[in-house]
């Protein structure tokens, strides 16, 4: 992690560290605000009462195990959920505009222009029978009304800006002719083509090898600093979180269980699940005595969530109180209380013990 941490320090100048105002109060630079979002099928809810907001220039990381509803939250924010998944309740406002009031064609105008998404497996997310340059140019043709030749020229510039060597040649390549890392750069170029106000990266670096991952993260940060976009970054890798996040929302079994600034979260995790995730990280410096820490058990299936706190069956601190669902609330006793919220009955105890 040393490379990542060094990188992070060097990028700190780009960050905002001012205290975050109370939730719900619309700030002028709030790009995306999700309130009480619930998404699910007829049988089960996969995302429950999720509230998030992200401001211009800020990076929010969504963290959690697979199946916690991180990706689905992002898809719902883009209005990309499709049958059988439906948005059951909640409000998504983007630049102050309620997305649920828009028709599909109006949403299409926003997508790709003002909000863009980068998917996990770039090679699968690109059309296999279209040249990558054309796939990038298409965004410009559709949203900016450029001609194909203008758009292709700009696509080549975009490919150069994401660090692809021989961009003019690569623009004529098909996705299968490029490596996974190259394709991810293509995806990024495509997402940034119209300089969106919001960039959602869904496990954008997970499928890549570590060195490529570092390059891509660095690239995304640079481009974000340049465009001032808000970014939501989904990952289950805490190393990536430390590298890129301003704020973090930890999700478990469809709910947000803890939100905090990145420093606060790493210093003082207040939810047992977050603490478990932290303990699972492998440290080169600490001796592990040959054992790797793990959270026992698995994420419950959305149709069979336990009563009360969903983490209860796996939680070392669980008690009778946990049969009641803990609310996500500001935890008193630490600085900037409102920035740090957790959904655990014992969060205050952890806060006191930690400080």
């Amino acid at each position: 992690m040393t490379v990542l941490e060094a990188d992070r320090l060097s990028a700190d100048s780009n960050r905002r560290r001012d205290p975050i105002s109370s939730r719900g109060a619309a700030r002028a630079d709030t790009v995306l605000a999700v309130e009480g979002l619930t998404v699910g099928t007829g049988r089960a809810d996969l995302v429950i009462d999720v509230s998030l907001d992200v401001r211009a220039g800020e990076t929010l990381c969504l963290v959690g195990e697979s199946g916690c509803g991180k990706s689905l939250t992002c898809l719902a924010a883009m209005g990309l959920t499709s049958e059988p998944l439906i948005r059951k309740s909640g409000r998504i406002s983007f630049l102050g505009q309620d997305l649920s009031l828009l028709r599909e064609n109006q949403l299409a105008e926003i997508r790709g222009r003002d909000m863009a998404m980068i998917f996990q497996d770039a090679t699968a997310a690109l059309n296999p029978v279209r040249r990558v340059g054309m796939q990038i140019a298409e965004v410009l043709v559709v949203h900016r009304g450029l001609t194909w030749s203008q758009a292709m020229k700009q696509a080549v510039e975009l490919l150069a800006s994401v660090g692809i060597p021989d961009p003019a040649g690569r623009a004529n390549a098909y996705p299968h002719q490029l490596s996974g890392g190259m394709n991810q750069r293509v995806m990024i170029a495509m997402a940034l083509a119209c300089r969106p106000k919001l960039l959602i990266a869904d496990e954008a670096t997970t499928a890549l090898d570590v060195t490529t991952q570092v390059q891509i993260l660095k690239l995304m940060k640079e481009l974000q600093a340049e465009t001032g976009a808000a970014m939501i970054f989904v990952t289950h890798d805490l190393g990536v979180v430390a590298e890129i996040a301003d704020r973090v929302a930890v999700m478990y079994s469809g709910r947000v269980v803890e939100t905090a600034t990145v420093d606060d979260l790493f210093e003082r995790p207040l939810h047992p699940y977050t603490r478990g995730l932290m303990a699972c990280r492998l440290h080169a410096t600490t001796t592990s005595h040959g054992r790797i820490a793990a959270i026992e058990g698995t994420v419950p299936s959305p149709s069979k969530r336990p009563e009360g706190c969903s983490f209860r069956p796996r939680c070392p601190y669980a008690s009778d109180e946990c049969m009641a669902l803990p609310a996500l609330r500001p935890i008193a006793g630490i600085y900037g209380a409102d920035q740090h919220r957790a959904a655990c009955h014992f969060a205050e105890d952890f806060a006191r013990a930690g400080s």
Partner: protein
């Protein structure tokens, strides 16, 4: 690499044609003597022998076969027994009519099949989907001659709007072409639908939506180019089947193409004409398959690289 690919295809194609011709050659000669069938019953034996010698039927079967293949390789397909003209010339006269019918039917197949298949996939589970699939099963399970007869009953006998037989005007083309088109469109529609459904669930279709592309563009620019790859195969196979199907359709509608000619020639034991037609049909199949192979590489850029990597 490229040259080797073409050579292999060429050899395979020639083998296919040789097999077809050989089969027909043997079966025709085992199924009765053309001379006795063509000449009146009271023809003197000497005349019969003369005819047999003229057409080379007095030689042994292997000898006839070798002579036929050798001259066919030089482009000489023999003389029509009935017409006394080169069989190839006799057949080629009728080829334009079959091409006209076959290609019209094919165009109808493509338009209806693709349209129904794409609409069914996009409106999955709705009335449009059910209607398209019901139509598909109808086309698939309906014997072509039976549909042909139904068409004649409805449009020629009852409504009296279209002619039922012959090929003298454009009006005559409508019924056989539509019959041929509908029969094949069912299969194409079904194939297109399943191919589209698979493509619509691919991650790149979600990307297309995330890029803010509207439905029309997502379908035309992203879904169809991918879905077309398997559909082209079935269309290629159908083009071959269409020529075969045209034989039946032509006889029902008395359309003056090579299909009708083939049926008549078999009845009359005009062996060179039958063999020539079979050879042409086999050639069509081979050429169509070759075109499909070429179209593959053009539609799916991944294929060429895969071949390049293998060799």
């Amino acid at each position: 690499m490229r040259l080797q690919f073409i050579l292999v295809k060429l050899v395979r194609g020639l083998l296919t044609m040789l097999l077809a011709v050989t089969f027909v050659f043997v079966v025709l000669r085992l199924s009765g003597d053309p001379v006795t069938m063509m000449l009146p019953d009271d023809t003197p034996a000497a005349v019969i022998a003369e005819y047999r010698a003229m057409w080379g039927l007095d030689r042994s079967l292997p000898e006839q076969y070798v002579r036929y293949i050798l001259s066919a390789a030089q482009g000489d397909l023999g003389y029509s027994f009935r017409d006394d003209r080169p069989a190839l010339a006799v057949v080629l006269e009728r080829v334009p009519m079959t091409l006209l019918l076959g290609l019209s039917g094919f165009a109808i197949t493509v338009v209806i099949g693709l349209f129904a298949g794409i609409a069914a996939a996009l409106k999955r589970g709705t009335g449009i989907d059910h209607a398209a699939m019901a139509f598909s099963i109808f086309g698939h399970s309906m014997p072509n001659f039976f549909l042909a007869i139904l068409m004649i009953l409805l449009f020629s006998m009852t409504l009296r709007v279209l002619p039922s037989s012959g090929g003298s005007t454009w009006w005559h083309l409508i019924l056989p072409a539509v019959t041929l088109g509908i029969i094949n469109a069912g299969t194409v529609a079904r194939f297109t639908r399943s191919s589209m459904l698979e493509v619509l669930h691919q991650p790149y279709m979600r990307t297309a939506r995330a890029k803010g592309l509207k439905l029309t563009r997502r379908v035309t620019s992203h879904a169809i180019p991918n879905a077309a790859i398997p559909v082209v195969t079935i269309l290629g196979l159908r083009l071959g089947a269409l020529i075969a199907g045209a034989i039946v359709i032509e006889s029902v509608f008395a359309w003056p193409g090579i299909g009708l000619m083939l049926v008549n020639a078999v009845g009359q034991r005009d062996l060179p004409v039958v063999q020539t037609i079979v050879l042409l049909v086999a050639l069509t199949m081979v050429v169509t398959n070759f075109i499909v192979d070429i179209a593959y590489g053009w539609l799916d850029p991944r294929i060429e690289t895969r071949e390049a990597k293998e060799s």
